[in-house]
Symmetry: C2
Subunit: 341 residues, 2 copies
DNA sequence: TTGTAAGCGTTATCAC
DNA sequence: GTGATAACGCTTACAA
């Protein structure tokens, strides 16, 4: 079976306590005995049982992350990139990651309760906040360390640590860019209202229109889910009822890519008389055809910073800023070219 | 603090044992008491401490996965896709995932020892096997359940459960396709020899050449690491010393994409007089410019099947086949068009 | 049907 | 410096 402290204790003649402390590097152990014990531990191939250690010390050195399951077809690069950033940084901080994929029908809060209430992690990372987010309420109530990618919706109390990108300014810049290119009929595909950033992006759109002296038309705005399919359908309904639209802004790149397909299916030449823009700058945006104009979020970096912030919170280290709002960067590519002449 | 069995026991008047069994759904508990206990547990918001449970029952319902850290620039879609497949399937099987990113300088085996020897997981998933893979030797020695994406190198004993794609046939098909398109000088970029599939792919290349009555030239073969940069450099050295080469096959898509850039930088028109092909069919392959011809692996599905196999192994369920060799599918895209006339 | 007690492998407290 | 002993919160023989 497993080599445990007891085995080393017996073989060395010392007590379990001393062995434990010797291996933990306490300085109230004779250097001779420490050496001796370490050697035996090494030859026996001792590997501490981390479950026991975690149970006893109430510390897991593990961060939890619950992500939406992503079925086959629509792999979601946003989450992949975020996870990579989180994983890399966690590793540098010597934390592991406990990940649970959330299959649509399942009870999401149960997954949180198991991780947090089940003592499996020292802290949680949340992504993609929602209006009145139940998960945030739960974590606050539990007083469990957590950090969030995203803020609450406008008007909500943001009394928790987060890193978010300024969606409002981001969409505003995108729409301003399209207006400047000469587009006067710009459609918008928003995610469901329950997503926290929806209203920010909606506001950014309104602001840009009014700055460009274009009037806001409710029939130029449509809702869809944050996938390619949502963008495809959104663009379809937008274009069928308002064929005068010459540009569509989607609230993430996946939707924008879907919108692009829809427009192309209708015979519109994206990048020529028609424009499409997105948000995020996932890798596929660059490789799309035409390449997609978008508001870039530093996703990987956000993942890293979330981890650093969370670990500081867990370990009680001071953290300069617990609420970070990053700017997005307008990335102009072929999908919005050639309108202005 | 945490609500524990003891609290429910006190409040209900039953013993900890009975509470434990009532909540676990044992049928040797009076239905009345079960009801009563469940109610109290619910009102108290009882959440079992999973660490304690795991320690006691020696069962974690967690699968371990150690992946290479992927720095900022070169996010590796192969691993992302594999992880998504693994995560989705694990969730359906009610397992969580413990993930540790392997930062280059770190001691990889230590990470395995911590997960496995530390009793943190019920099984491990390995990806990208290497010649004489130390990790496999370790897991076999520990008799810890594991499954592998990839086999041992040719000649090694494959006495472990795996799912792999037939690399040899895959590359063979790619090279045959290029030969058929009229290419007679086909370069090959192999990954480092320590990667287990390197020799399979090398062999596939040789076979296809001889089937096409082309002679094998050692100077048409070059090694590089499995990233864009490896492909870029590989193509550069290939083309500088053998400018007569008209097609390059890389052993994964990332390298192929790098090779494509290198060729384009040299002024070659990929998809016209020059061809490039890869292996894997990551999403970027389709969106590349020109789109990349490649041997497709069903990465997501492999992830799913690995999990199903591993869970069966863990739970002692029968598993029909523990060594699965899947075919790859030749996907012909623009990067290999227009040579034959 | 229910309870007592042991034990999973650690770490922490307190004596010696 | 070192060693008993008691937790951590749970499951599970074995008794009653």
């Amino acid at each position: 079976m497993q080599v445990k402290l007891k085995d080393i204790a017996e073989k060395s003649g010392y007590s379990i306590t001393t062995v434990s402390r010797a291996l933990a590097g306490y300085n109230d152990v004779n250097e001779q005995t420490r050496q001796h014990i370490s050697e035996i531990a090494a030859t026996l191939g001792y590997q501490p049982n981390l479950l026991a250690r975690q149970l006893r010390s109430q510390r897991t050195y593990t961060l939890g992350l619950i992500i939406p399951a992503q079925d086959q077809s629509f792999s979601n690069e946003f989450f992949s990139q975020l996870m990579v950033g989180i994983g890399d940084a966690a590793s540098l901080e010597h934390y592991d990651l406990l990940i649970s994929a959330q299959v649509p029908g399942q009870d999401e809060m149960a997954a949180y309760r198991r991780m947090v209430g089940g003592n499996r992690v020292d802290g949680m990372i949340l992504a993609r906040t929602r209006q009145n987010d139940e998960r945030i309420a739960y974590l606050k109530k539990q007083k469990h360390p957590f950090v969030v990618n995203g803020r609450g919706a406008p008007g909500e109390a943001n009394d928790f640590p987060y890193i978010d990108v300024d969606s409002q300014l981001g969409i505003r810049a995108v729409v301003a860019h399209l207006a400047e290119r000469g587009h006067r009929d710009i459609g918008l595909i928003l995610p469901p209202l329950k997503i926290a950033f929806t209203e920010y992006r909606h506001d950014g759109y309104r602001e840009a229109l009014s700055a460009a002296r274009l009037s806001y038309r409710a029939d130029y705005v449509v809702y869809g889910d944050l996938l390619r399919s949502g963008g495809y359908q959104g663009a379809q309904s937008l274009l069928s009822r308002s064929p005068q639209i010459t540009a569509i802004v989607a609230c993430n790149d996946l939707m924008a890519l879907g919108a692009m397909s829809a427009a192309q299916t209708l015979g519109l030449r994206v990048g020529q008389e028609f424009a499409v823009a997105g948000f995020d700058d996932i890798p596929a945006a660059e490789f799309a055809h035409p390449a997609l104009t978008t508001a870039r979020q530093p996703i990987y970096e956000i993942g890293q910073r979330l981890v650093k912030m969370l670990v500081s919170l867990i370990e009680g280290k001071p953290v300069k800023q617990t609420q970070v709002l990053l700017p997005s960067t307008l990335v102009i590519r072929a999908s919005s070219e050639n309108r202005k002449e």
